[in-house]
């Protein structure tokens, strides 16, 4: 199972976890497994068109999946996904 790093802004949707694991052989399948386990994450990850929201970046290990094969990018069990929404706190 791949590991997914959950950013602070999404943690409330996954019961406060900072890292979860999810099944799937592609980025999309892993994210869909995450949503199946934690339905509140769906609106934050995917737009109504079924594509990743443009304000969320997903990295496979350290590479943006948009540079790879997007949601179809293959994921191995040893891989980790990083979900990265923009942050702006500075004060």
């Amino acid at each position: 199972m791949a590991t997914i790093r959950i950013p602070p802004v999404l943690r409330a949707s996954v019961g406060g976890e900072r890292e979860v694991t999810a099944e799937g052989e592609t980025v999309e399948a892993v994210l869909r497994s995450l949503i199946a386990a934690h339905p509140d994450t769906e609106a934050q990850l995917f737009g109504s068109d079924g594509d990743l929201n443009r304000y969320v970046n997903v990295y496979l290990n350290d590479e943006d999946v948009r540079v790879l094969d997007g949601l179809k990018t293959a994921v191995a069990d040893s891989d980790s996904l990083v979900i990265l929404p923009a942050m702006a706190g500075g004060r």
Binding site: R5, P8, Y55, D64, G90, R91
Partner: protein
């Protein structure tokens, strides 16, 4: 019988290669390592343009910072050509340099012939003591310190991130620090904004910060911009600064700053913090991605915890702010590998860092175009800020 000093010098000069100043003229600022081995006081009165200064006593320990390759051409000079002859002998005989020459007649002959000279930046004795630990680092040295003293850095915000960044940049000797902040010091700031003090509560943050900076380093010129950055003032405020430190607390200003800084080609050292976590990256226009390459659009208001007060561990902006300050110093000095095209994430609770790659987006709405093509109307194109935050509840 041991040779006299004069005999020894004669022997050395017959062993090494010498070069006439007229043959050095075309090599100035032309990729050849020209090294001035005189003492600091002598160099203060003038030196060859572009020559690196390594006092002869430090030659062996510092030459590699100027000439890392043993086969590259190195020209040494002193006042008259004697000390540089000894120095050349050392580099060739003891350190294996292959193409070292000593300039005959030294700086005296060079100057007598009317060739071009430059007067190096003159440090005061107070500056020599204050920055002595910098002078000891080959990566900083006199040249790096001069760059720091001549640098102009703009801090957006004298808050959580700006406070530690400003203090350390001031301590390091960054000559001009601009601060943009329209806020006043509140007691709730003091858990993390270490540039302010209990007795400056109620003062404008730019004034409180100026007091602390000048108490630490009176040589720093503080330029106060007691205002909120917006589309009408951003170009006039940021123009002329070498580097911008972004620690702003809201998305509209981050996008506005990005677009303006790309237009003016000013690098931005950017950090963001929330709770126990921080992000850091350097956006160098056209050398690397910009903020819009990383995040094309801001998140919707309900997913943007930037409008109201959020919890943050007091020390976290210190950690991230000092990483920002480090990147600023590196950019100014041209040292090391800057965090361009990379985003560093720090998780304080886990005591871990991780990094992802940030690519230039060939379709970036801003930096895929030339600066002159970005219009005023497009800059900071973003939903109205008040409406944005009101929607967040």
């Amino acid at each position: 019988m041991s040779p006299s000093g004069a005999e020894f010098l004669k022997q050395i000069k017959s062993d090494i290669s010498e070069v006439d100043p007229s043959d050095v003229v075309p090599l100035v600022n032309n990729g050849v390592a020209i090294v001035d081995v005189r003492e600091t006081e002598e160099v203060a009165a003038g030196k060859l343009p572009g020559a690196k200064h390594i006092p002869r006593g430090f030659l062996e320990s510092r030459i590699e910072s100027v000439a890392p390759d043993r086969s590259q051409r190195v020209i040494l000079y002193c006042a008259s050509g004697n000390r540089s002859a000894f120095a050349a002998n050392t580099l060739v005989r003891d350190m294996g340099y292959e193409r070292v020459e000593s300039m005959t007649g030294g700086f005296t002959l060079w100057k007598d012939r009317g060739y071009e000279t430059e007067t190096p930046f003159a440090f005061t004795s107070e500056q020599r003591q204050r920055y002595s630990r910098h002078f000891l680092l080959p990566e900083v040295g006199e040249e790096g310190q001069r760059k720091l003293l001549e640098a102009k850095v703009l801090l957006l915000g004298a808050g959580g991130l700006g406070a530690p960044t400003a203090l350390y940049l001031a301590a390091a000797g960054v000559g001009t620090l601009g601060i943009v902040d329209d806020d006043v010091v509140d007691v709730s700031n003091l858990q993390r904004q270490v540039i302010h003090r209990t007795d400056t509560i109620g003062l404008p943050k730019v004034d409180s910060a100026e007091q602390a900076i000048n108490a630490l380093n009176p040589g720093v010129d503080v330029v106060k911009h007691q205002t909120r950055l917006d589309a009408s003032n951003i170009m006039s405020i940021i123009e002329g600064y070498d580097i911008i430190v972004d620690g702003v607390d809201n998305f509209p200003t981050r996008y506005l700053l990005n677009d303006a800084s790309v237009r003016l080609k000013i690098p931005v050292v950017s950090a963001a913090i929330l709770g126990f976590e921080g992000q850091l990256s350097v956006f160098a226009p056209y050398d690397g991605p910009c903020y819009r390459c990383l995040f094309r659009v801001p998140p919707p208001a309900e997913l943007a915890p930037s409008c109201g007060a959020n919890g943050v561990l007091g020390v976290l902006p210190g950690t991230m702010g000092l990483l920002q300050a480090t990147e600023v110093l590196k950019l100014i000095m041209g040292a090391g590998t800057p965090l361009i095209g990379r985003l560093l994430m720090y998780d304080a609770l886990d005591a871990s860092t991780s990094e992802v790659k940030v690519r230039r987006d060939p379709e970036c709405p801003i930096c895929s175009r030339e600066p002159g093509e970005i219009s005023d109307e497009e800059m900071g194109d973003f939903p109205d800020y008040d409406a944005f935050c009101a929607a967040a509840g």
